[in-house]
């Protein structure tokens, strides 16, 4: 029985999980915010993909990782405006518009990538990393775990910020109210459409950021459909999180580790079929849902457009 706890295995598993999970962290956090306010973002996959492509192109052109990440976030934000206009302001069906976004972005990015880079398939240089002093000197994992691009650390800080906002600010309170019973919020004089729009735009930006991270740091390149269902996993994370921001961290890393498991196992000589490993995150989601089905609870107004006075 190969020794699983070699440093090689653990590094590959945990650090690999970290790298694979960061996109999920951002997208999941964004979706938690959106769902808390009552918007179900089926188009998340499209926003991540758009962020991946635009982020990749921007980094390629400017050789600047920060610019690329920002560009990806902007791409996601712009797509979320589609949801804001059609669903939040006009009250059209959130799921249909989400599917439309996914289809359109998948097609558009595939076509654009083929026309621009179809022949060359360029790759990016490795992103610069920052080693946290002291922590990065810890044995075994310290070196790799605490030497990450700065955006990763910012991501963790962001989770804490979001948790605080949701719990202890008026914006967070109004957001939660919008997701539970928007009519009451409206009667209290708060603009429901505006708070949901803000939540959705933040979600889009974070999803785009997550996608950009995937292309720039994770994969180092863009291939069509690179997100491969991550957007949908993020939706599941958000549903299980039930408005608790820290769950985005837990969910992201659990699923990230199931993705990094192949490489880690290969390192210790266990050869698991690629298909099994790729299925793992989805199988674990199903298992979790079956076990915790009773507890999964969503905001009561999720998915329903708010139109004042509608029957």
């Amino acid at each position: 029985m190969p020794d699983l706890f070699t440093s090689g295995f653990l590094t590959a598993l945990v650090v690999g999980g970290l790298v694979a999970g960061v996109p999920l962290l951002f997208a999941g956090l964004g979706e938690i915010i959106a769902e808390a306010s009552g918007v179900l973002n089926v188009g998340l996959e499209g926003m991540m993909l758009a962020g991946a492509f635009i982020g990749f192109v921007a980094t390629l052109l400017t050789q600047n990782v920060w610019f690329g990440l920002a560009a990806g976030a902007v791409a996601g934000l712009l797509l979320s405006l589609v949801m804001v206009l059609f669903c939040i302001r006009l009250g059209l069906d959130q799921i249909v518009v989400g599917v439309a976004i996914v289809l359109t972005v998948e097609g558009a990015t595939a076509v654009l990538h083929a026309t621009l880079y179809g022949e060359s398939y360029p790759r990016l240089d490795a992103a610069p990393r920052f080693a946290i002093p002291f922590l990065s000197d810890l044995p075994v994992l310290g070196g790799s775990l605490f030497t990450q691009p700065v955006i990763v650390y910012l991501g963790f800080i962001l989770v804490g910020v979001v948790a605080w906002v949701l719990r202890s600010t008026s914006v967070g309170l109004h957001l939660r109210a919008a997701g539970e019973q928007p009519a009451s919020l409206d009667a209290a004089g708060v603009d429901v459409v505006r708070i949901r729009s803000v939540a959705e735009m933040v979600c889009g930006a974070l999803a785009g950021l997550g996608g950009a991270y995937l292309a720039i740091v994770g994969a180092g390149t863009f291939v069509p459909f690179v997100t491969n269902g991550m957007g949908f996993i993020a939706i599941v994370i958000a549903m299980l999180a039930r408005g608790r921001a820290w769950w985005s961290v837990i969910g992201a890393f659990l699923f990230g580790m199931s993705l990094s498991l192949t490489t880690a196992l290969q390192l210790v000589g266990i050869d698991v079929p690629v298909d099994v490993v790729q299925m793992l995150p989805f199988v674990s989601v199903i298992v979790v849902l079956v076990i915790f089905a009773r507890d999964a609870r969503l905001p009561s107004a999720l998915g329903l457009p708010y139109l004042r006075g509608s029957r």
Binding site: G107, A296, L302
Partner: protein, 373 residues
Amino acid sequence: MTSPLTSPEAVVDVAPPTTRGAGLGDALVRSLGPIALALITCGALLAIVGRDPFAFYSDILQAGLLRPSGLQDSITRMAPILLVAAGMIVAFRAGMWNLGSDGQYLLAAACVAGTAPSVLAAVPAPLGWLVLGLVGMVVGASWTIVPAWLRARYGLNEIVTTLMMSFVGSGLANLLVKGPFDGPSTVPQTAVVDPSLLLFDLPGTRIHIGVIVALIAVATIYWVFSRTSFGMRIDVLGANARAAQHVGIRVSRLIIVTFLLSGALMGLAAAVDMLGIFGYMRADWNPAYGLKVVPLVFLARLNALAVIPFAAFFSVLSIGGEYAARRAQLPSDFLLLVIGLVLTFMVVTQYLTDKRDRGEPILPRRKAGMARA
């Protein structure tokens, strides 16, 4: 889970036939408008990336419609499209978003292709097709059980569960094709069925009878929903799940039955493809009909007969598009872009026409003073 999610029925207000008073002209606008807009937009995008949109579209027409071989290919392509569409209509009319059709299809395809050589060796062809068709339907249906049960028992969102099962299903299909069903060839794929054992073609054509099967299935689904009490119960469930329970419909049971039927149709689509066109299944192959068919089903307003012309449109676009994309040096994923835009424009068009029908202003006035209808 306490949230009532939007149902597909809420998107296209599917009242029974007696109340559809909108004229033919209106129906044409609602269905052709989005298509026209999408084609125009894509044409503009083509121009932006330096391709000639007119040449592109004429290539599509040539290859997909005008050339006899292309026309036949398009008609053949309609078979799985119609069956997948029928499966979606069944689920959507019940208010269930079955977005996991790809997984159901692939798993059924793997099982059908994997067992076909043995079945067809043991049993004469027409009976063998029947058996394999059943295999496909059973496998497809069984892959909906978990999401169906989670939804019926716990009210758990089927969007997520069907999507997750889809990824698992496609992975499982790959494992089967690379494993127990792997054929003699060096490439991971099932053993190829002798072409003489595949579905017959319509005389004088290259169109296999699977298309007839698909048309019969679609007509049956239409009849179920327009005439039978079973179909009415599904419609009521989709229109108002609480009312369905109140009037005595066994909601849990109906949810599961609906899912099973939907999955079975996806499985049948797989069987038709395997036995009609391919005769084998390769690993890592996914025609991904699912999401692409969603816009067609909505354009047809969840009406099984009305989906036929849209399926035809999509098939021509698909067959012709492969050729045109190759010529223009674009990936065939271009089709996704077209169909995504069709759905987007459809949503907008429906919104505009609904508002006009109800005599309401287009943009909601959010200030105080908005009239209650």
